[in-house]
């Protein structure tokens, strides 16, 4: 159990907790019908923030060369933005 506690107290564990919370929040926001495009956009937005957090902390992009940080940031912002745009405009 000591290792598990150590992990939870580490930056990685903190990131995991944030991700779990964000998962629960987005599930609540998006559950069921009638949420509409606004709820959908919020859910997608949260999911891309989660994706960036996974890259940043778990994949060690945070300490990776700058081009990779830009690539992941660009991906999450660009793809996330495009999908939200598609959701809202189409």
């Amino acid at each position: 159990m000591t290792l598990a506690l150590q992990i939870l107290r580490s930056p990685l564990g903190a990131a995991w907790l944030v991700l779990v919370l964000a998962t629960v929040v987005s599930a609540i926001v998006g559950w069921g019908q009638g949420g509409g495009a606004a709820a959908g956009s919020a859910v997608l937005g949260i999911s891309f923030l989660k994706a960036y957090l996974v890259a940043d902390q778990f994949m060690e992009v945070r300490t990776a060369p700058t081009w990779l940080r830009w690539a992941f940031g660009g991906y999450c912002a660009g793809v996330g933005g495009t999908l939200i745009g598609l959701l809202l405009l189409l």
């Binding site: 290792l3 150590q6 992990i7 107290r9 580490s10 930056p11 990685l12 564990g13 990131a15 995991w16 991700l19 779990v20 998962t23 629960v24 987005s26 599930a27 926001v29 998006g30 559950w31 019908q33 959908g40 859910v43 997608l44 949260i46 999911s47 891309f48 989660k50 994706a51 996974v54 890259a55 902390q57 778990f58 994949m59 060690e60 300490t63 990776a64 060369p65 700058t66 990779l68 690539a71 991906y75 793809v79 495009t82 999908l83 598609l86 959701l87 189409l90």
Partner: protein, 208 residues
């Protein structure tokens, strides 16, 4: 090395990646360039898959809503938590690997267990859909549902194979050669990508 004040500096997992000095961490590419090109290429294709889903959905909203109604988000939430936990285990294992901890193969084993649990749930979910006569050719929604989750699961299966290899390499206890280290880090990177893809895929299919 101890921090000012006599409190021992964080070690093991609580410590960050190796630092050159106190102020600025050295920038380091985990694994190697090719692994990241692979990941970025795969992410790009998945981006097109996500986009195609939303474009097709806009033309047939009723069909997609009806299909989504047949899904059980609880499956997706549990699967997300399983993958997040597995990623935590893998990321921790990679950090500890640098310090030669014996917990590494156990953590990787936990990740494999999570991946297998995901697979069992996925099979159960597919079985449930198929038993109700819903298959990839039922309608556009279920085409995307089966293809997207199927392609994702295929990536997960490859990731499980890689994790197994990583366990074999790290279980020996002896220090890893530079190429073995690259292999372990590349495998970890791939596994995190599998997690990352599901993080977007689950809300897209089940919630949005």
């Amino acid at each position: 090395m101890s921090a000012p004040g006599g409190v021992p500096a964080p070690s093991g997992i609580a410590a960050g990646p190796p630092t050159a000095g106190r102020d600025r961490p050295t920038r380091r590419l985990p694994a190697e360039l090719g692994a990241w090109l692979f990941v970025l290429a795969d992410l790009t294709v998945f981006a097109f898959l996500f986009g195609a889903y939303l474009v097709d959905r806009s033309g047939q909203e009723a069909v997609f809503r009806a299909g989504q109604d047949r899904l059980l988000p609880v499956f997706g939430v549990v699967n997300t938590l399983l993958l997040l936990t597995s990623s935590l285990a893998v990321a921790t294992a990679v950090r500890l690997l640098r310090r030669g901890s014996p917990a590494v193969p156990r953590l990787l084993g936990l990740a494999v267990a999570c991946g297998l649990a995901f697979s069992v749930l996925k099979i159960a979910e597919y079985g449930d859909k198929l038993s109700h006569g819903l298959d990839p050719q039922t309608d556009a929604f279920f085409m995307y549902y089966f293809v997207l989750t199927g392609v994702h699961w295929f990536h997960l299966a490859c990731g499980l194979l890689m994790l197994t290899g990583m366990i074999a390499v790290t279980r020996r206890g002896s220090p890893l050669s530079p190429h073995e280290r690259i292999y372990v880090e590349a495998g970890a990177t791939f596994w995190h990508m599998v997690d990352l893809l599901w993080i977007v895929l689950f809300p897209l299919l089940y919630l949005v």
